[in-house]
């Protein structure tokens, strides 16, 4: 039965799959994780700030993002950003935004909602004595956050942040709705061109599975190492 399959199509398309597809997927994952962490930390700080209005805005944002399917956000954002850009800059025509930029912004905004909740938990896990000691030494709010609270929060939450990044790595495949050739998109293109759907999708699954598994294993090792240091 296996005779009717042509697994050689995988070998033939490897350079395209990895140089184009996987590069795109990994770049998007890394940039979105970084941007999401920075933006998410800002949201977490807003939520934990004493200012009620700021906290409420941040809370609404998080709830809003978490109540929408990611595919929908990617899709809508791609079509809306040009018009939002036009509205902001007052340009006569919709602004041109590439698929990559659009999907990156979407992922950063979407992931920020999740990362912010992780960072919020991380910041809250630090005893109140720490910021008190920092203040007592004369550090201002920004310095206290930057040098005392956030490094500890980040370290405590690193395993969770990385696990979320693995989820993000898989979620980036959703950019197929914009017909961007990420890894899955590239595989799907080859599959349809050569009529080798089973082979290509099977291979894509194996690759995603392997990378995610290895990464999860790495996170678990890291977790046990951090536990020892503490």
């Amino acid at each position: 039965m296996l005779g009717s399959f042509d697994f050689d199509v995988i070998r033939r398309s490897l350079p395209y799959l990895f140089y184009e597809g996987m590069t795109f997927t990994l770049t998007l994952t890394a940039l979105a994780a970084f941007g999401g962490l920075v933006f998410g930390t800002a949201i977490a700080l807003m939520r934990l700030s004493g200012y009620k209005l700021l906290g409420r805005i941040a809370g609404l944002y998080v709830d809003f993002m978490r109540s929408l399917p990611l595919v929908l956000v990617i899709f809508w954002f791609y079509f809306l950003v040009p018009y939002i850009g036009q509205w902001i800059t007052g340009a006569p025509r919709p602004i041109k935004v590439g698929a990559f930029a659009s999907s990156l912004i979407t992922f950063i905004m979407f992931e920020a909602a999740y990362f912010s909740e992780i960072m919020r938990a991380g910041i809250q896990s630090i005893s109140r004595g720490q910021p008190a000691a920092a203040s007592a030494l004369g550090l201002n709010y920004a310095q206290t956050m930057r040098y005392v609270v956030l490094p500890q929060a980040f370290r405590n939450m690193l395993p969770v942040l990385l696990t979320q990044t693995i989820v993000l790595f898989q979620d980036t495949s959703l950019v197929y709705v914009l017909s961007i050739p990420d890894f899955l998109g590239a595989a799907s293109k080859v599959a349809q061109r050569d009529g080798r759907l089973v082979e290509m999708y099977l291979f894509a699954a194996v690759v995603y599975f392997t990378i995610s598994c290895i990464a999860s294993f790495g996170v678990r090792r890291l977790q046990s190492r951090i536990a020892i240091i503490r």
């Binding site: 008190a132 000691a133 030494l137 004369g138 040098y147 503490r230």
Partner: protein, 243 residues
């Protein structure tokens, strides 16, 4: 140096933690604050460097009004050293970096100068060899001595101690008290919340006794230990000195 006058603080409209507290600490003086738990002594000392806000009254430190919204609090706090019950060293930084952080970021000292100063102070508290370790690798007594060194690195004009030995195992209390006694004898202005009456007898100039948010007794050391005027202070002393 520290002037506290008519300070009131409420946690909620019905729960008053500090009631009309008035006292002062002059330059070079060592004042011990004692009293039963929940009497507001820690709260009072935290009001001095504005870690706790208060609703009415005035506190001035070296002429700077703590309660004034225009006061640059970080600047004021950088001149007031504070040592906490639970040490509060920064666990992600090495001992020497714990000592250098505020020196470089707040005072703007160059890193090499801050390190030299930090090493001098570590040597003074007997922990020079621990400079490259992390706080979790040190015992409680060692951590508290590092915390004292960290506060001293800022060249404070006054030191506040908030129950510095309460979280320590008994055998580690004396190594911390020794450092504090030396500091007192060198003429540092100190306000110390503690139950260590031995320390109070040795170096305190004055003793303040607090109960239920009020300063019940504010007396010279010998008067306080000789015969406290209030019943409550007598009872408290008999309880902690009887064993």
């Amino acid at each position: 140096m520290i002037e506290i006058s008519h300070v009131n603080k409420w946690y909620s409209p019905t729960f008053q933690v500090l009631t009309d507290c008035t006292t002062s600490v002059t330059k070079g003086e060592v004042v011990v604050v004692c009293g039963p738990s929940g009497s507001g002594k820690s709260t009072l000392i935290k009001c001095v460097n504005a870690l706790e806000p208060f609703q009415s009254g005035e506190i001035t430190v070296d002429g700077t009004k703590v309660h004034d919204p225009k006061t640059d609090l970080p600047k004021l706090r950088s001149r007031v050293g504070m040592v906490f019950q639970h040490f509060e060293l920064f666990p992600h930084l090495k001992i020497i970096d714990n000592l250098c952080l505020a020196q470089t970021k707040v005072l703007g000292r160059p890193l090499d100068k801050a390190k030299t100063k930090g090493m001098q102070l570590l040597e003074r508290v007997g922990l020079k060899e621990q400079a490259e370790k992390f706080p979790a690798q040190l015992s409680g007594g060692q951590q508290q001595r590092v915390a004292i060194a960290r506060a001293l690195a800022m060249d404070p004009i006054v030191m506040l101690f908030d129950e510095p030995t309460s979280a320590l195992d008994p055998e580690m209390v004396s190594e911390v008290l020794d450092v504090m006694v030396d500091l007192a004898r060198e003429g540092m202005t100190m306000m110390v919340v503690t139950h260590e009456m031995g320390f109070a007898r040795k170096v305190a100039n004055r003793v303040i006794f607090m109960d239920r948010g009020e300063i019940v007794e504010d007396a010279q050391k010998d008067d306080f230990f000789g015969k406290p005027r209030s019943d409550r202070a007598q009872k408290f002393l008999s309880k902690i000195l009887s064993h």
